[in-house]
């Protein structure tokens, strides 16, 4: 056994988990190695400190407070349960509605796109011109000579 293999064994030995052969190997190493022996003593002291931590309090039951808390928690949980039940009922309906709306939107887009060449063909056949949108409002709203729009024309 060397110092490196000895270290993990120290921890297990503190918990009394070494088999007889391991314990005897460890003890032989500790006899021969002052550094590991010091480490072992330090670990034993720390374990003693942990075991001798004192309980600084007088017993005071928390049961009455727990009873009160349980009542409050129960009411809160019941409210959450109601909410959850409601959500569980409405989530599938909302999902179906969402899917239906998405399908409708997809279908109408596809329909419009698939009919575009047909409309172009009709326009060409009938010698019609495609209607361009007005790019400038001045084309439809007559202006006063000084550039102010005619106020007699109601603008909705």
């Amino acid at each position: 056994m060397n110092c490196k293999t000895c270290q993990p064994l120290l921890s297990r030995s503190l918990d009394g988990l070494l088999v007889e052969a391991e314990q005897s190997d460890l003890e032989n190493h500790l006899e021969a190695c002052p550094a590991c022996r010091k480490e072992w003593e330090t670990q034993k002291k720390i374990q003693h400190l942990l075991h001798s931590l004192r309980d600084p309090m007088t017993a005071r039951s928390v049961l009455p407070a727990v009873r009160l808390r349980l009542g409050d928690e129960e009411a809160r949980r019941l409210w959450y349960d109601d909410l959850e039940r409601l959500a569980r009922r409405f989530v599938p309906v909302a999902a179906v509605l969402f899917l239906a709306l998405s399908a409708f939107a997809l279908f109408s887009t596809w329909n419009r796109l698939s009919r575009a060449p047909e409309i172009e063909w009709l326009v060409a056949q009938n010698g019609l011109e495609a209607v361009e949108p007005y790019s400038d409002l001045s084309e439809i709203v007559p202006e006063e000579p000084d550039g102010v729009p005619d106020s007699s024309i109601p603008i909705h």
Binding site: D15, I46, L49, L50, D55, P56, A59
Partner: protein, 192 residues
């Protein structure tokens, strides 16, 4: 592995079905041990009571998740430690936000030790040991406290922490190494 007798087993099952009366019997059985464990761990009576209260409420609502693979008390201690870590984190955050120094809490009823000087010194040593534990990572704190204060076996710690016994062994080894590094000045100065 369960230490509980058949009566306790039945009690736990009743609590799992929401039986408040069975829960009260369980609380009366475990409360003193839980308070003692928490008082040793936190070093503060008020914190111990707050954590115990929170733990017992959680116990009632989480009882259905208990699978009888470790002792009930070890499982309760695990819940209590998680609760304590959370509360301590919240408290530190609050103190930092309001720029208040954490002065700790005085002991409500200090231990009966021979003289005031010795009592004060033991109190100081205990506080140093607790603050050393608090410097470890939550996993390392958990294994050290469950092993050294609660006295849980490696198997039980592995069960409540959802990991292998090998992992627990390695965490304990590392936690002890870190504690040694932190506590060496104390051991030298106090000649313990």
């Amino acid at each position: 592995m369960l230490e509980a007798g058949p009566d306790e087993h039945t009690l736990i099952e009743r609590v799992q079905h929401g039986d408040a009366e069975a829960f009260e019997i369980l609380v009366q059985t475990y409360e003193p041990r839980l308070l003692a464990f928490l008082a040793k761990t936190t070093g503060s009576p008020d914190m111990a009571e707050e954590v115990a209260q929170e733990t017992l409420v959680k116990l009632f609502f989480k009882a259905h998740t208990f699978r009888f693979r470790c002792s009930l008390f070890t499982w309760i201690c695990e819940i209590a430690l998680h609760t304590f870590f959370d509360l301590r984190k919240q408290r530190r955050r609050w103190l930092k936000k309001h720029q208040v120094a954490d002065l700790g809490e005085p002991c409500r009823a200090p231990d009966h030790s021979p003289g005031p000087a010795e009592k004060a010194e033991r109190f100081e040593v205990d506080e140093i040991v607790r603050s050393a534990i608090a410097q470890l990572s939550p996993d390392h704190q958990m294994v050290i406290l469950l092993r050294e204060i609660q006295g849980a076996s490696y198997d039980e710690i592995a069960t409540v922490m959802n990991c292998s016994v090998g992992t627990i062994e390695s965490r304990l080894f590392r936690a002890r190494q870190k504690l040694r590094t932190i506590l060496t000045p104390l051991l030298e100065s106090h000649e313990l």
